[in-house]
């Protein structure tokens, strides 16, 4: 499975050492938390995720090719 991660908004500022887009190859289904850790991203820094354009959550298991957008910390208003 090919997973593409996009960093969005405030996450780019906080993880400035990482590229804005990353690809990972997965051999077996994995939760988003595991995927993030494999990519070197602390899941605590991810506030919101979308999977193929739909709002998801960090405990969701990914079992197919997916475009995942990670939205970082943002203020509430």
């Amino acid at each position: 499975m090919r997973i593409t991660l996009h960093l969005s908004g405030g996450l780019k500022a906080v993880l400035s050492h990482l590229p804005e887009e990353m690809s990972l190859q997965l051999e077996r289904p994995a939760s988003l938390r595991e995927i993030l850790m494999r990519a070197g991203i602390n899941p605590l820094l991810v506030m919101v995720v979308t999977v193929d354009g739909q709002r998801g959550n960090k405990d969701q298991v990914i079992d197919h090719d997916a475009e995942i957008t990670l939205i970082g910390p943002m203020a509430g208003g």
Binding site: T50, Q54, R55, P73, A75
Partner: protein, 631 residues
């Protein structure tokens, strides 16, 4: 010609009924951009030293920015300013909706209100026609109902701001309302409007605005709108709006709970963004020209009847929901509605109510003194306190003063958990393990407000264990490590220049902050509208000038203002967080001092937090330096 601006300041002396229109000075636009910049400079220049915030001599300024009202993303923002009845110092508040654009189409960049109307009145503005009209019929009525009634009378094309009974009764944290759910919420701006006997302002504008490159702006505005909506974060952020961050703030242990006794609320899933969408939302609602409507207009069904309300947005969820520990999103929405109708800032009102509940819990205030028992988690208690406060009845007269003054009066240790800075109640981020966010609250020019610098993300990045450690431990969350204290000043200062810059330009910051809409677009839009070539750094330099000016204003106006004004309440330096992800953490006085020392040095302020002469001169405020020296 000043491209982008309407070109006129409208000044209304409410005492004499005198109306004056003067050209917008070119140097004001050049040196202060607009919005917050206009507010800061006009307050400094026009307010006589030591003016009482409730006196006719205080000013209420409503200012737009050069980008307000143009065909570009999220150009509906309006800025308000005054000398604060809550803090006695610099005050401003930003509001979404449609009022600012309408004011500009009527021909005015700034509305400057002085004096006090002889009887309750409202200001009617339709292009060149400006009239003070009677408003006795609505005095005492709610902010929402007044707006609805005025709209019925004048027509839907009028954009209206109103105050509720809280503003009329000079509650020090009363707000100004607009568009059935948008507020200039903070710093007691509505109380100043009430002290001026002004119930509402209704404006309709039919004119155009001069634009430097109209074809270029049309093309750029359209493509910018599309680009914002194409941002990968759009689908993740917009559906729940600001309420969508509730889960994360609990995950990192920063959610205000039980008057900031702790920082994690076990019931947060009942009051989060999903609950708003699932149980309340009818439709999305946005400000003028907004591509990402974050407002969620909905209906809450409660045992007390159904109410229609915009939101609740995150800050109201945090303070009414977490800090007063309500059990469901319907209850939060109901309390939000009560605040909106009474004209109370949900943040300060919730903070004041939570303080009163803790006073009752600790036996500092009795049921007899309050008029009834008031308990965390009880909607009836909260609504009782809100209504008493807005009316200044019984215990409400004390609470209407805000937690700083109320706790000074009550004493018995209640000052320690009066959660404010400079007299302004704290917003939705508990910061005992977030030194950057703590510093941001301590040094925000208006008091404990997050919208000057929101540094929590940086704090979490610094305090969360490394990914390597998380993997070895076989988990990724749980307890947060103690944050390293020191080195936060630089990023807080940078944020304090970026966020308020949007309040100068007259556009919403959320497209930039939350979706990463690039700064180059704002540089280009600014050029196409005004014809002035300014880089992002040039614009930030103006924002820095304004930061020093607002500090200087408070130094001039508040007796003894300085370092001591910047400390958070003792709770945060004495009581470790009792449970949740940040259990055991707090920031000692020594750590707070280290944060302030670094910050003052980086700012070019002395050890008491006063801007030095050299610094003020460096940023183009030589006249302010002279005035402070003569103080």
């Amino acid at each position: 010609m000043l491209f982008g601006y309407a070109g006129t300041i409208l000044e209304v002396d409410l005492t004499a009924g005198r109306i004056e229109k003067t050209p917008l000075p070119e140097n004001l636009a050049a040196d202060y951009i607009g919005g917050r910049g206009f507010v800061a400079r006009l307050l400094w220049d026009k307010i006589t030293r030591k003016t009482d915030p409730f006196s006719p001599q205080n000013l209420l300024i409503i200012a737009t920015g050069p980008l307000s009202g143009h065909l570009l993303p999220a150009s509906g923002k309006t800025h308000f300013g005054t000398k604060s009845p809550a803090t006695g110092g610099y005050a401003d508040a930003n509001m979404g909706g449609h009022f600012g654009p309408a004011l500009k189409y009527a021909g005015y960049d700034v509305l400057l209100l002085t004096g006090r109307a002889p009887q309750p009145s409202y200001l009617f503005i339709e292009d060149d026609t400006v009239e003070l009209r009677p408003a006795e019929a609505w005095w005492g009525q709610g902010a929402l109902i007044t707006e609805a009634t005025l709209k019925k009378e004048l027509g839907d094309t009028f954009k209206i701001i109103t105050i509720g009974p809280a503003g009329e009764n000079r509650v020090r944290f009363a707000c100004i309302s607009h568009d059935f759910g948008r507020q200039a919420g903070r710093t007691g701006i509505g109380a100043v409007m009430g002290a001026k006997n002004l119930k509402a302002v209704a404006v309709k504008g039919t004119g155009g605005l001069p634009v430097f490159d109209i074809d270029g702006l049309y093309e750029k505005g359209r493509s910018a709108f599309e680009k914002v909506r194409a941002k990968p974060g759009f689908a993740g952020w917009t559906p729940e709006g600001t309420a969508g961050i509730t889960d994360w703030v609990n995950e990192v242990g920063a959610f205000p709970t039980r008057n900031f006794q702790t920082s994690f609320f076990p019931g947060y899933q009942n009051i989060n963004g999903k609950a708003v969408v699932k149980r309340l939302k009818i439709t999305d609602k946005g400000c003028s020209c907004c591509p990402t409507p974050c407002g969620k207009y909905g209906r809450a069904k409660t045992g007390r009847g159904d109410v229609y309300v915009e939101g609740p947005e995150y800050e109201s969820i945090a303070i009414l929901g977490g800090d007063c520990t309500l059990g469901s999103i319907e209850e939060v929405a109901f309390a939000n509605y009560v605040c909106d109708e009474l004209g109370l800032d949900t943040i300060s009102a919730g903070g004041v109510a939570a303080w009163a509940m803790e006073c009752f819990e600790k036996g500092i205030l009795s049921a007899e003194q309050i008029g009834r028992p008031v308990r965390f988690g009880d909607l009836e208690s909260l609504v009782y306190l809100l209504k008493k406060t807005a009316a200044r009845e019984g215990i409400g007269d004390l609470l209407a003063e805000g937690v700083m003054r109320a706790s000074a009066q009550v004493g018995r240790g209640s000052e320690s958990f009066a959660i404010h800075v400079k007299g302004l109640e704290w917003t939705g981020y508990e910061s005992r393990n977030a030194p950057g966010m703590m510093l941001a609250y301590m040094t925000a020019d208006v008091g404990a407000h997050h919208n000057r610098a929101w540094a929590l993300g940086h704090d979490v990045a610094g305090s969360a264990a490394s990914v390597h450690d998380l993997i070895s431990a076989g988990r990724d969350s749980g307890k947060m490590a103690k944050s390293r204290v020191g080195g936060q000043a630089e990023s807080v200062i940078a944020l304090q220049h970026i966020r308020p810059l949007f309040d100068c330009l007259g556009v919403c910051r959320l497209q930039y902050m939350e979706l990463g809409f690039e700064v180059e677009h704002y540089e280009e839009l600014f050029f196409l509208v005004t014809g002035r070539k300014m880089s992002w750094d040039d614009l930030l330099a103006v924002s820095e000038r304004i930061w020093h000016l607002t500090r200087a204003f408070s130094v001039r106006e508040v007796d003894g203002f300085g370092r001591k004004s910047d400390y958070p309440p003792p709770r945060f330096s004495r009581e470790p967080v009792p449970d949740g992800p940040n259990e055991g953490h707090f920031l000692s006085i020594q750590e707070l001092d280290m944060l302030l020392d670094e910050y003052y040095a980086a700012r070019g302020w002395d050890q008491n937090g006063i801007p030095t002469k050299e610094t003020l001169r460096r940023v183009g405020l030589a006249d302010v330096a002279e005035a402070l020296a003569r103080r």
